[in-house]
């Protein structure tokens, strides 16, 4: 069992701290900036986890588009004036969260160690199959692309549908107010 590499641990810790800041900072612009930092940190973490495609998407979508959307939104709305820097703690939410955290923490010991080559995912015949056959069957070197486009193309159709639905939704929501 090799421990998680230090750089990954550092970047994840950074991301978590940024996330805490995003939630606790009272000024929405500050929160958005913290969120952008969080997304950036996460994108780096994806690279360290050997997921460059995810990292690219995260950087473009998470850190990029999402942040822009947030900024556009607060440009159209008003930032709350903040005499305090941080939010007050809502203890009722803490209780709800504690339940979930408690449940999830009990499972950590049962989860395979990070990077274990014996984990079911790593040894799964599906993983094997994709690595072995994606290139011969589809002619695409990047297995992620191959699976995305071919083996799980139906998911990708759904993904596209989600995007269309979201676009239409934004139209429907904003058209009524004559924003578009």
């Amino acid at each position: 069992m090799t421990p998680v590499s230090t750089s990954l641990a550092v970047i994840l810790t950074f991301a978590v701290l940024a996330a805490i800041a995003a939630i606790l900072l009272r000024d929405v612009l500050n929160a958005i900036i913290a969120f952008a930092a969080f997304s950036f940190g996460i994108a780096v973490a994806w690279i360290l986890l050997a997921a460059p495609d995810v990292a690219l998407t995260e950087a473009a979508v998470g850190a990029g588009i999402t942040t822009v959307l947030f900024l556009v939104t607060i440009a159209k709305t008003v930032r709350p004036g903040g005499e305090r820097l941080f939010e007050r703690i809502a203890w009722r939410s803490v209780a709800i969260v504690a339940v979930l955290v408690g449940a999830l923490l009990t499972t950590i010991r049962s989860l395979p160690a990070v990077g274990s080559s014996e984990a079911p995912v790593a040894t799964s015949r599906i993983t094997e199959y994709y690595l072995q056959n994606a290139y011969p069957e589809t002619g695409v070197e990047n297995v992620v692309t191959a699976v995305l486009a071919a083996y799980r193309g139906f998911d990708t159709l759904g993904e596209a549908t989600v995007v269309i639905a979201a676009g239409l939704a934004v139209l429907l929501v904003l058209r009524q107010e004559a924003y578009v």
Binding site: A19, A51, T66, S93, V114, E141, E177
Partner: protein
């Protein structure tokens, strides 16, 4: 315990992110920040998936003809690519709704909106 921390650090961070996100959604008075919380919550789950596909010393699953060597499992990456797009779509819709809500109520504070509504 230290051993667990060392080998399962990602999962602890995943729990932390999910917790922070859920807290953000339920506790933030500001609607925009609820959406930020929602994003963090989802990213926490993404971390769970991507970590599951990682193998020590693995390289990204880009195969050049022969499959010798250690690759990260491609399937979690595929799933998360889809999920990220879903997430951003949801964020866009949520923010559009927020713009409209702001237009109607003049505030993004949940408490304030509730007061306006009951009046």
């Amino acid at each position: 315990m230290i051993d667990l921390l060392a080998t399962h650090y990602n999962y602890l961070m995943f729990v932390a992110l999910v917790a922070i996100g859920l807290y953000g959604v339920t506790a933030s008075p500001n609607l925009v920040k609820k959406v930020i919380g929602l994003n963090i919550f989802q990213v926490g789950i993404f971390l769970f998936f991507v970590t599951s596909g990682y193998v020590d010393g693995a390289v990204p699953p880009v195969v050049h003809g022969d499959v010798a060597g250690t690759y990260a499992s491609p399937l979690p990456h595929v799933l998360i690519l889809t999920a990220i797009v879903v997430g951003v779509s949801l964020t866009a819709v949520a923010l559009a709704l927020i713009v409209r809500i702001y237009d109607a109520y003049g505030t993004l504070d949940e408490e304030a909106i509730r007061e306006v509504q009951t009046e």
